[in-house]
């Protein structure tokens, strides 16, 4: 009997250890995107009427369809990143997938004739996205017969808006080299410096936790607000205390706080939850969601997410 008990304990421990060892942090997606400056310089912009104000936005689809140099540079970066064991999301493919999915959703119906449900927020979120954007710009410099390339690659965290890596430089001027050759040289010369900074960003993430943004909002139908007191403590302060207790080393910045909203930036969350499972912003905030639902707060709330690094809790309703 005692032997059996020991065996079960041992199996349980082995399973726990296996789970811990095999746990892998959630891998961010990366995508190369031509910058707005590049799109504007090369005429790949489209204009739409934003409530009376004409607004220019990049036309990425047109850029990928018409500019062979862009395709070459993106393909080269994708290949080099794949060699480093980090395949990238391809923007032109992502745009095509989104279009075909929209067409499929429009055509799909059940046997009873019901269509696919899609809220306005679902439609708004239907864009090609990644956790880290590699924003690409290049310009051709001409001095007499000589040509050179000024090349800039920025790695931007899609949630915190921080630049996590960057590489910029001007290649050697050449009389004879063609543009594709100069572009390839520019990519080769700059990609290692960029990856070294990206590696430093990941190392920091493993050491200090993932950096995310958290927003607390309230539905206007909810009669209470963040100033409501529980045992003499305002709800806003209660949430702040929860953040202090659950973030890595209590690291976060409360950037904005009113009676109806709070914005937490530079929130460092652990990469794994208490069970050893990889987690992200949504997984982290599920804890706060459950905490607020429980006594003495009993607040119904809605949790939405944006990728690995941004989540919103809206208080008052589902």
């Amino acid at each position: 009997m005692k032997n059996r008990f020991h065996k079960s304990i041992f199996t349980l421990l082995a399973l726990f250890a296996l789970n811990f060892v095999s746990a892998q942090a959630k891998k961010p997606t990366i995508m190369v995107v031509p910058s707005e400056v590049w799109c504007n310089t090369n005429g790949y912009m489209t204009t739409y009427n934003n409530q009376g104000t004409p607004t220019k936005i990049p036309d990425f689809k047109k850029a990928f369809q018409e500019n062979a140099n862009l395709l070459q540079v993106v393909a080269k970066i994708n290949t080099l990143m794949m060699d480093r064991g980090f395949p990238l999301k391809d923007m032109s493919s992502a745009i095509k997938t989104l279009e075909s999915e929209s067409a499929e959703n429009a055509m799909m119906s059940s046997k009873s004739g019901a269509g696919i449900s899609e809220s306005p927020i679902d439609r708004l979120k239907k864009v090609a996205k990644a956790d880290i954007i590699m924003e690409l710009t290049w310009t051709v410099n001409t001095t007499g017969p000589k040509k050179s390339i000024t090349y800039t690659l920025r790695g931007l965290d899609a949630y915190t808006d921080k630049q996590v890596a960057g590489a910029t430089g001007t290649g050697a001027p050449s009389f004879s080299a063609e543009l594709p050759v100069l572009l390839e040289e520019a990519v080769l010369a700059n990609i290692d410096g960029f990856n070294a900074q990206l590696q430093a960003h990941f190392d920091d993430m493993f050491a200090n936790g993932r950096e995310i943004i958290v927003r607390i909002k309230k539905f206007d139908s909810w009669p209470d607000d963040l100033e409501k007191e529980f045992d003499g403590k305002e709800l806003g302060t209660v949430i702040e205390d929860w953040m202090t207790a659950n973030t890595v080393k209590g690291r976060y910045s409360l950037s904005d706080s009113t009676e109806s909203m709070q914005l937490y930036e530079q929130v460092r969350i652990p990469l794994y939850d208490a069970t050893g499972k990889a987690t992200d912003a949504r997984g982290f905030l599920k804890g706060l969601q459950t905490f607020l639902k429980g006594a003495p707060y009993n607040i119904t709330n809605k949790l939405t997410m944006k990728g690995l690094g941004q989540a919103v809790i809206v208080l008052g309703e589902k």
């Binding site: 892998q24 942090a25 959630k26 891998k27 961010p28 990143m81 060699d83 480093r84 064991g85 980090f86 050179s148 590489a167 430089g169 001007t170 290649g171 050697a172 040289e185 520019a186 080769l188 010369a189 700059n190 290692d192 410096g193 990856n195 070294a196 990206l198 590696q199 430093a200 990941f202 190392d203 493993f206």
Partner: protein
Amino acid sequence: MKTKQILTLVLLVLTNAIFAQSGKQKKADKATREWRYEIECAGIGKDGTYLIKVWSYSKKADIAITQAKKNAIHGVIFKGFSGGGQGCTSQRALATNPNIEEEKADFFEPFFEEGGKYMKYVSESSDGNVGADDRVKVGKEYKVGVIVSVQKDALRKDLEAAGVIRGLSSGF
């Protein structure tokens, strides 16, 4: 009798020459460990390579030339190099941990020994020819500049596989 004496003399001279050479090699290896070499970008290498110029020091010019390969790999792993002309950009060292050479001594000692694995990743781009401007006598020793090509992608992959450095996707 005379033949015996000549043979002994020849043997002595040969042994002396071998020991002297080995002593100079040891000195060159010590210089490498003490970062006594300079490394600079010499142009944009082909895909997966760095084209670099390494300046090494030795009393014998041929040792400085052969040591250039070892210094190049040592520099790419631990030192990095700055950019400059020919469209060069600065490159950081492959190893980010400054104490990695001591921490992984059991890996690096055989790696950098004479004929060690480092040879796999480096080749001279000028077939051992050194330009007149790249061979400078400084005091009692030579400072020799050699252009070499380093297979940095293959080197990085093997260091990652050996657990010496972290890969970009490690932990994910």
